[in-house]
Amino acid sequence: MLWGLAAIAIVGFVWLQVSSRSDQRTDEPAFRADFELTDHQGMMQTDEDFAGRWMLVFFGFANCPDVCPTTLAEVAAVMDALGSDAVQVQPLFISIDPERDTPQALAEFIPYFDADLIGLTGTADQIKRTSETFRIYYEKIEEAASPDGYTMGHSSQLFLFDTQDGYAGAWTYGTPAEEIVSDLRARL
């Protein structure tokens, strides 16, 4: 019921136009990152904690064996390729499966991808609010042939926010790390 309401509430939001990346730095961004969540080490983190750094944000869930590890592997490759510029970028993984993804559950897998990667989760309510501010979509899909009888559908773009939390663009799932790196280098 709660999930249904959450889904209905989120469906009404305007979809992000991934193709219309704005490079007009003088323009006010379409929206700003805004969250208060718990990281995989149990620490509270808000968008303000990352002020001054670019944020690379991906939404997913730990039980996801395909899209999520694939994107996190790309993010790890991006961070590697950035070399000394990597300090300007904070990669974040935000769970949309608060039922299973406790901070402890995230702590089991987040550090294996990249030392700088931070996993964030929260209560169902916190995740719902986060999804609204980020204008992303997620839903719980009942599926008997999945672990625990459900899987999650979710926006799978990799989002970029500038040093003032402003939305700076997104890459669709499957964009190679090399392309992301050259896009990023042009902005840093």
Partner: protein, 154 residues
């Protein structure tokens, strides 16, 4: 008598995993570039990827998977819609037309390895048996790469 011999032959073929006498097509399937990612423990599902090439003249259909690694292996498919929303669902039977290939790759089809029995350890391999509609079966050794692997090359 004749039928019991046939039954024995049939049963022993099934037992050793060789194609039975009635197969048409699945012996022409070649599996290439199989790989998977290491798991952390056994609580979450793994995924394996590969390319199936049908070198024969008949279509072949993959109908199921078996592996000692996981109690519930199944082919799933990730789809991403125009809004960038991705989700996964069982893919059902996978038909490979003659002379063509079907790729199990990140973001599309994958062997979803549910209810892992043992941890997937980087550097090891595991056997994965592909069962085809014609009764044939093919077992491949799937290399387990690092958790952040991006493809069959690592």
């Amino acid at each position: 008598m004749k039928s019991s011999i046939a039954a024995t032959v049939f049963a022993s073929c099934l037992f050793i995993g060789l194609p039975t006498i009635t197969v048409a097509g699945s012996e022409d399937v070649v599996v290439e570039d199989a790989w998977s990612r290491a798991s952390i423990g056994i609580n979450r599902p793994g995924a394996a990827y590969m390319t199936l090439r049908n070198t024969g003249t008949d279509p072949v259909t993959l109908v199921g998977l078996e592996t000692p690694l996981a109690m519930m292996p199944d082919i799933h498919e990730t789809t991403t819609d125009a809004n960038g929303v991705s989700s996964m669902a069982p893919a059902g039977d996978i038909m490979v037309p003659p002379g063509e290939t079907v790729s199990l790759e990140p973001g599309g089809l994958h062997a979803m390895l549910m209810r892992l029995q043992i941890k997937m350890v980087e550097g090891e391999t595991f056997p994965l048996t592909l069962n085809f509609a014609d009764g044939g079966a093919l077992t491949v050794d799937v290399p387990i790469l690092g958790i952040a692997a991006r493809g069959p090359e690592g």
